[in-house]
């Protein structure tokens, strides 16, 4: 394993992208920073700019308005980076499947510009914070 990946696992800084979520997953993500879960134990830090990020936490279905913006945010993120689909909507458009404003799940949109993107899925509506931590840990250990 290269030192780049090793250190990336040791300090994954995450940037939170909402592409049309109902805010439940977002609440659970912010919940990760509270004293009960405290992801800073693993070096995970929420950053304010995609340029500082190693992981994009994407919540919600990708709407037609959000798709080019999500692609732009992914382009602006320095590689190597991981994309986490948080919640049922991001994984597979969830209950919004087939709706008029939905262009697809997150992985489809990301793969349009980068077929080799590293994408991890945490299903649930919303996923529990424990599930999110477990998903992030499993995805990082698979790198």
């Amino acid at each position: 394993m290269s030192w780049k990946i090793w250190s990336l696992k040791k300090s994954p800084w995450v940037f939170h992208v909402n592409t049309g979520a109902c805010n439940n997953c977002d609440i659970e993500i912010v919940n990760l920073l509270t004293p009960k879960f405290d992801v800073e134990r693993f070096g995970i830090k929420l950053v304010g700019s995609p340029r500082h990020a190693d992981a994009l936490l994407v919540t919600g279905v990708v709407t037609r308005q959000a798709a080019p913006r999500l692609q732009e945010v992914y382009r602006q993120t320095p590689k190597p980076c991981v994309v986490f689909c948080m919640g049922a909507c991001a994984c597979n458009t969830g209950i919004f499947k087939g709706a008029y404003h939905v262009v697809g799940p997150v992985d489809k949109i990301i793969k349009e510009i980068d077929p080799n993107a590293i994408i991890a899925y945490v299903p649930g509506c919303p996923p529990k914070p424990e599930a999110m931590i477990s998903g992030v840990v499993k995805a990082l250990s698979a790198l």
Binding site: K4, K10, G43, G48, D54, P78, K79
Partner: protein
């Protein structure tokens, strides 16, 4: 080369290893861990592991470095290095004076100049990044510098008056101006100015994670961001150290030999040097820290105890004050910060200067 017959190797050693880059950056990263850990404990969290700042910097060096299309490339890429050069020079000067009092016949003015260099570099770098968020951050950073620079210089003027017009840092570090009314006022204001210079809450206006998304550093990534992180870590060493030298009588010259002195007649350990005992405590607590939150806190405490035993007690005191201010205050708006520094701190320091002058004229040392 100077006539003090220093070899080139020795100079390089000072610049890159001790007390220069390696030592100051390493110490700074450790202190930044202490800041994060203590903040976590204040908020009833566990906080990051000991090596976290090191992991962060290593990771950032391994990342891709993106430069925005519209950015002024040269300024954007050299600004972090300029900031690093400034803070490195200041670190070397301060530590060299601490270790060897004849090392540098510099004065307080040079240090004040060098202290503004990282902030100026930050302004140049973020203005070159062609980002609207960063430009808002830049404007705030400029206003912040304008607001705290005046009280800071006034605070140093108080010290200069108290020490009878001394400008040399070595001479100032011989005295303890803080044990007087004017010196105390000046110290408190200077502490708040250092808080603003470090970009900590309540004066993290330029970074403003919440609404500006890291503001001035928004467009930096990869190696360049790593350099900025190291600059910020070194500021965390240099600025409190400077306060200690100016207001609290400096750090004793034998601050490292304190670790080498053996403690006599201790049970079990006998006459081991302090440093070895602390090192053993470190390793044990560091290994056990994986299993219990409380051992982790013990590790933090033993680290702070090691600093105090090494003669860095005053420095630790200033850092702890800064951390406590950081964790007990909300962020202020930029106009509130300017009003605070100019009106309140300005008036307080004008009074302190007058008190110091009176004290000097009539020989009253406690004024």
């Amino acid at each position: 080369m100077t006539e003090t017959s220093q070899s080139l190797f020795q100079l390089l050693f000072w610049i890159f290893i001790f007390p220069g880059f390696l030592f100051s950056a390493g110490l700074g990263l450790i202190v930044s861990w202490i800041v994060r850990k203590v903040s976590a404990l204040v908020q009833w969290r566990v906080g990051p592991p000991f090596l976290q700042p090191f992991y962060d910097v290593i990771k950032l060096t391994g990342k891709e470095t993106l430069i925005p299309q519209e950015a002024q490339r040269t300024v954007f890429t050299t600004a972090p290095l300029v900031g690093l050069a400034g803070v490195l020079l200041l670190a070397i000067i301060l530590w060299r004076i601490t270790i060897d009092q004849t090392a540098f016949i510099g004065d307080i003015i040079v240090a004040i100049y060098l202290m503004t260099l990282p902030s100026l570099a930050l302004i140049f770098g973020s203005s070159a990044s062609a980002s609207p968020h960063a430009s808002v951050g830049t404007g705030r950073e400029m206003k912040l510098i304008m607001s705290y620079e005046l009280p800071l210089v006034l605070a140093f003027i108080v010290v200069i008056i108290k020490t009878g017009g001394q400008l040399s840092l070595v001479a100032i570090a011989q005295q303890v101006p803080v044990f007087s009314i004017s010196g105390m006022l000046a110290f408190l204001v200077a502490l708040l100015c250092v808080q603003a210079k470090l970009g900590f809450v309540p004066f993290d206006i330029a970074e403003a994670e919440t609404e500006l998304g890291s503001g001035v550093l928004m467009e930096y990534s990869g190696v360049l961001l790593a350099v900025w992180k190291i600059v910020q870590a070194m500021m965390l060493v240099v600025l409190p150290l400077f306060l200690v030298m100016v207001f609290l009588g400096g750090i004793s010259a034998d601050f490292l030999s304190g670790l080498a002195t053996p403690i006599d007649n201790l049970p079990v350990v006998g006459t081991l040097p302090v440093g070895v005992i602390v090192l053993i405590a470190f390793v044990i607590t560091g290994l056990l820290a994986r299993f219990s939150k409380y051992i982790d806190i013990l590790f933090l405490l033993s680290l702070i105890a090691a600093c105090i035993l090494a003669g860095l007690g005053k420095y630790v005191l200033v850092v702890v004050l800064i951390i406590l201010i950081k964790n007990t205050n909300p962020r202020v708006r930029i106009d509130q910060a300017m009003k605070f520094f100019w009106v309140y701190c300005g008036i307080a320091l004008a009074a302190a200067v007058i008190l110091a002058l009176i004290g000097n004229a009539y020989g009253i040392s406690w004024l």
